[in-house]
């Protein structure tokens, strides 16, 4: 009997995947804000870095979710903002902020060397885990660009089907960057995939008054566990998403392989 219960429990846990609640992981040391463009659409991201963990997520998604789930008054504000995105479409600053990875939350744990991705795109909640990817970079030390007052060097790599050109600074010795990019001897402040597929640029860096590195699950959603290969198969066919839920340009995903 006990055994059956145990089995049942394991089975339920497996079927249900993760349903963790929002919780603090560790204090943050640095927070970088990146803006992204993809064709006409822009979005903005936060890379929050702690000692052994870091996270990367869309600022606008975070803002809307936090307003929606904080209290009824704040959710009313979020609702009105959403209505306004329809109302004044010519005002680009009020348009819906989207990108191909706008609905993804990335967490890296350096102690286990694992990266976990949570995707809540089109009311489908999926998650997968992989080893923190390592890109093989080609560094060219002769080109220099100043971003946010910091001297940056160029590096290029072919990563999962796209050619990435990034600018990193040794003035911030953290081998991280936007999205899954990293592994350079300094923080990546600018990154471009396939010339114009998507661009990220750091627009601010903060080291004070930081929120801790936090696992967010405002809506207490359950995530379906899968592997990256499966996830990719679905993401590379974005047009299969129902029209009503579609907020993305009908573009291939950031990872092609």
């Amino acid at each position: 009997m006990k055994r059956t219960n145990m089995l049942l429990f394991t089975l339920t846990a497996w079927v249900c995947g993760f349903a963790q609640e929002t919780h603090v992981i560790e204090p943050a040391i640095l927070e970088v804000r990146y803006d992204s463009w993809q064709e006409e659409h822009d979005d903005s991201y936060i890379l929050r870095i702690g000692k052994t963990a870091n996270q990367f997520f869309s600022y606008y998604r975070y803002r809307t979710d936090s307003l929606m789930f904080t209290s009824e008054e704040t959710s009313k504000i979020a609702l009105q903002e959403f209505i306004d995105t329809n109302d004044r479409s010519e005002d680009r600053s009020k348009r819906l902020k989207v990108s191909t990875i706008g609905r993804e939350w990335l967490y890296q744990d350096l102690t286990t060397d694992k990266l976990t991705l949570y995707s809540d795109y089109a009311s489908a909640y999926n998650t997968y885990e992989e080893d923190i990817p390592r890109q093989e970079w080609e560094i060219s030390t002769d080109s220099v660009m100043t971003i946010l007052g910091m001297e940056c060097h160029k590096a290029t790599t072919m990563f999962r089907g796209r050619l990435w050109e990034v600018w990193f600074t040794e003035e911030l010795p953290i081998s991280l960057g936007p999205w899954k990019l990293g592994g350079l001897p300094g923080l990546i402040l600018k990154a471009t995939a396939d010339k114009d597929f998507i661009k990220f640029t750091a627009i601010s860096i903060k080291s004070e008054h930081l929120n801790p590195v936090t696992y967010y699950n405002w809506g207490n959603e359950k995530y379906y566990q899968m592997d990256r290969a499966k996830f990719l198969r679905y993401k590379n066919r974005p047009r299969t998403i129902p029209y009503a839920d579609k907020v993305l340009p009908a573009k291939p995903y950031i990872e092609l392989e």
């Binding site: 079927v15 995947g17 040391i29 822009d42 903005s44 000692k51 600022y59 803002r63 936090s66 209290s71 009824e72 008054e73 704040t74 009313k76 504000i77 609702l79 209505i83 004044r88 010519e90 005002d91 680009r92 600053s93 350096l110 102690t111 060397d113 795109y121 089109a122 009311s123 489908a124 999926n126 007052g149 911030l172 010795p173 953290i174 350079l184 001897p185 300094g186 640029t201 627009i203 601010s204 860096i205 903060k206 080291s207 207490n220 959603e221 359950k222 995530y223 379906y224 499966k230 198969r233 679905y234 066919r237 047009r239 299969t240 998403i241 129902p242 029209y243 009503a244 839920d245 009908a250």
Partner: protein
């Protein structure tokens, strides 16, 4: 020359000996100082690197002092202890006096950045580091991000429409441009939302604060009957603390510009009751307005903004609309009666002339602890409508429908510690002295209405439970004075002067529980209601309307929901009168006083299933509603007229409603197929000429869509819609619609082909087909956009359809806009 290589291993720790993960180890050349290679420490703080003989290591990590390690040797692993150091971010250093920085605001001096070829402020902004300007629409980005607000002299008058200014404000008039970072437009929300928005403020030169800035666009074309035109003009004048904007629009191309002035949605609008007098002109609801509206519309707006101090400002808006509209059509209506059907067949000729004056005064106070917004608006409209009918019953109808509305919306958010309390008060006064003449009959009716809804909201959270509370007062007073002249007084009372009022005090707590996989929400609304009709003693009662909903997150792909509610509908204030009121030719309404309420119980359930991998998404919802009405609608045929009212007799109606939305991705041509279906079935009752009739009606609506994208931005969309309506006593009606659109982009041109094919059942088994096709070609260049459109290519100029409801069915054939050719240009100076 081969350089000797060796492998260096080591551990990096902090001063307590704890390993440091992610420290960066660079191998640098002794001679050039350039990095040769680099690596990182793993979770145990260990690294291992190939090192050339003439090199050194540089170990760095955020929060620690950088270390250099010389004299490398392979013999023993290195132990590197890092010294902590505060993270010091380098400030963005700014050289030269072109730029001044103070706190979060940076000021750029325009004349030092400007080139002599620069004309507009947008041209100069494009040169300033950090700015990007979109020449097409005038959008500004700062540090890569669209600015959140565009202020001129600290005032935000244009809202999102600032693009016109970017492209037309002469740069010689601008003194400086300020960038405000971390800008939260509503300051009281600063602690609740996280913002990194930047806003731009344009400071004008002292001498240049009285220029007018202008822009224009327009188009012309022809149709078979007349010339077509549209035009838009814009002007802006800026003074410090006072700004003025003027716009003018005109068209006869089927766009109702008067609608642009009213915002589409607002969360705080009071509903006002509809007019008693209502003509029934030919309308074609199935088609887009641009196909059916025969218009000539003007709209002029004046907008000014005045600032008093840092945190408060006032906005005055005046809008004048002049709108003329015509419609033509034929309608055959069948009334299903127990003693034989009655048929009316009339040709209709309609003309409407509207004048509308709208004014708004908005005051905003935006401080760190409180946000206050009050808008007071007046909407005065005068509508004259003529409807001539010929056929079974020939009549000339003329309506004067003035309407005067005054509204005030007050919104306050206050911060108490880390809690927000918001307060809303919406008040409105409406007056409608209206009249209708039908040949020799005359109906005068004057309505006044005052209503208020004032409430406060706050909430608190305790673990998995949260409770929010909304409490307030909702009250209204309706006054009515009516007089009908020319009707035979044997059928009822002709004049009335009475009023109805109610006051509702309500508490709406909302209790939510969010567990691991179950979400629960309970809203037990409780209210005290007092209602009074001027000709009796009134009535008061306590009402309780609970609503419970449960959501079960069964698996990540499947979600089930279940809910139920019991509610009491509030009384319809507009039915409290005793006389007969003429609505139009055909209908006379008789009020009925009585305080019995409609009760409705509903059960609803839903299933959501998403399998992203199989690209399958499905939503199904079903609801069952039982309602009990103490009154049954009546219909009595007296001469050419129909008197509508209700009698006190309990009638029960029940209905089913089911809704399905599903979508599946296809591998073929990047395609997707959608399916939507709706089913409704309801039972109802009506008393006709004293005989009670039960009837059932059903609606089935289904749509399937296909969407393919063969290549890049080229799209093909196809949809097929089917609807079936049936009602007891009448024949069932089927309608089909197919639509196809193809978009072909050939830079810099875009070609857009559209076709709509309607197959409407007019009488049983007898269909009418309509094919409407459009072609649009557009060309885009830097300063000029041109669009050539050919609408309704096949020149189909009538459209027919059938509507059935409430034991009535009507067949309409209306005139629609025929073939039209239109060329529009948008030119940016």
């Amino acid at each position: 020359m081969a350089v000797a290589q060796m492998r260096i291993t080591g551990t990096v720790t902090d001063k307590n000996g704890d390993p440091l993960t992610g420290a960066i180890i660079q191998v640098r050349s002794n001679s050039t100082n350039k990095m040769i290679r680099f690596g990182k420490t793993d979770a145990k703080g260990v690294f291992s690197l190939e090192v050339a003989a003439d090199s050194y290591l540089e170990v760095s990590m955020l929060g620690f002092k950088k270390q250099r390690i010389n004299n490398l040797s392979e013999n023993k692993p290195l132990r590197i202890v890092m010294q902590e150091e505060a993270v010091a971010l380098k400030e963005v250093t700014v050289k030269a006096s072109k730029v001044r920085e103070r706190g979060d605001t940076i000021t750029y001096n325009v004349s030092t950045f400007a080139d002599q070829n620069d004309r507009s402020i947008g041209d100069v902004l494009a040169r300033i580091p950090g700015f990007e300007v979109n020449k097409q629409n005038g959008q500004i980005k700062y540090e890569g991000k669209p600015i959140s607000k565009f202020y001129i002299e600290g005032l935000d008058m244009l809202g999102g429409k600032y693009g016109v200014t970017t492209n037309s404000l002469p740069q010689v008039d601008v003194g400086s441009v300020q960038v405000m970072r971390n800008h939260q437009p509503i300051r009281v929300l600063e602690d609740f939302t996280y913002t990194d928005e930047a806003a731009v403020n344009i400071r004008m030169k002292e001498g240049a604060k009285s220029h007018w800035v202008t822009s224009f666009n327009g188009g012309a074309g022809i149709s078979r009957h007349t010339g077509l035109w549209k035009f838009e003009g814009f002007g802006l004048r800026i003074k410090s603390n006072l700004q003025t904007m003027l716009t003018y629009k005109i068209n006869n191309t089927g766009q109702d510009i008067s609608k642009e002035t009213t915002s589409l949605f607002s969360l705080d609008d009071l509903e006002s009751s509809s007019d008693y007098i209502q003509l029934s002109p030919p309308t074609t609801p199935n088609l887009a307005e641009s196909r059916t509206l025969f218009n000539r519309s003007h709209a002029a707006t004046l907008n000014t903004l005045k600032r008093f101090n840092e945190s408060s400002q006032m906005n005055v808006q005046m809008i004048y609309n002049n709108h003329r509209q015509t419609a033509e059509g034929e309608r055959q209506t069948i009334y299903y009666l127990p003693d034989g059907n009655r048929i009316i067949d009339n040709r209709k000729d309609y003309l409407q002339k509207d004048n509308e004056l709208y004014s708004l005064v908005k005051y905003e106070k935006n401080s760190a602890s409180q946000y206050l917004k009050n808008s007071l608006s007046g909407d005065f409209s005068w509508s004259h409508q003529w409807l001539n009918e010929f056929g079974t019953n020939s009549h000339h109808q003329f309506v004067r429908k003035p309407e005067y509305d005054i509204k005030d919306n007050l919104y306050i958010i206050r911060k108490y510690g880390n809690r927000l309390i918001s307060f809303y008060s919406n008040n409105c006064i409406v007056s409608r002295p209206q009249s209708l003449s039908i040949d020799s009959l005359y109906q005068h009716i004057s309505q006044q209405q005052y209503s208020t809804n004032t409430y406060a909201m706050a909430g608190t959270k305790l673990g998995k439970f949260s409770l929010s509370l909304k409490a307030g007062v909702n009250a209204a007073l309706h006054r009515l004075e009516s007089d009908a002249i020319g009707l035979p007084d044997t059928i009822g009372q002709m004049a009335d002067n009475s009023s109805f009022s109610f006051a509702r005090i309500y508490v709406e707590p909302r209790l939510t529980y969010k567990g691991h996989s179950i979400h629960l929400e309970l809203t037990p609304t409780t209210e005290y209601l007092y209602e009074k009709y001027s000709k009796d003693d009134g009535h008061h009662q306590m009402l309780f309307a609970p609503d419970l909903s449960i959501r079960w997150y069964t698996t990540p792909r499947l979600r089930l929901s279940l809910g139920g509610s019991s509610s009491v509908e509030s009384l319809d204030a507009s039915r409290f009168y005793q006389s007969l009121i003429l609505q139009n030719f055909q209908y006379i309404n008789r009020g009925y006083a009585g305080y019995l309420h409609n009760h409705t119980q509903a059960i609803r359930g839903g299933i959501t299933y998403n399998d992203a991998l199989k690209a399958l998404h499905t939503i199904l919802s079903v609801s069952r509603t039982f309602s009990t009405s103490p009154y049954t609608p009546t219909r009595q045929f007296v001469g050419d007229y129909i008197i509508r009212s209700a009698v006190e007799q309990k009638s029960k109606s029940r209905s089913w409603q089911a809704n399905l939305i599903t979508s599946k991705g296809l591998n073929l041509w990047n395609g997707v197929v959608n399916l939507r279906a709706l089913y409704m079935n309801s039972d109802a009752m009506m008393m006709q000429n004293g005989v009670m009739t039960d009837y059932n009606s059903q609606i089935i609506n289904a749509r399937m869509g296909l969407d393919f994208s063969f290549w890049k931005d080229m799209h093909l969309r196809y949809g097929i819609t089917f609807s079936h309506k049936s009602m007891d006593y009448s024949q069932a009606i089927d309608n089909w619609k197919q639509d196809l659109s193809i978009i072909i982009p050939i830079n810099p041109f875009t070609i857009d082909l559209r076709g709509e094919y309607y197959r409407n059942e007019i009488t049983s088994g007898n269909y009418k087909d309509f094919f409407l096709a459009d072609i649009k070609a557009s060309y885009k260049s830097k300063r000029l956009d041109l669009t050539l459109s050919l609408n309704n290519l096949l020149n189909r100029d009538t459209y027919s359809y059938v509507i059935t409801s409430d034991l009535t069915s009507s067949t309409s054939t209306n005139r629609i806009r025929g073939r039209e050719l239109l060329l529009t240009a948008y030119y940016m100076l």
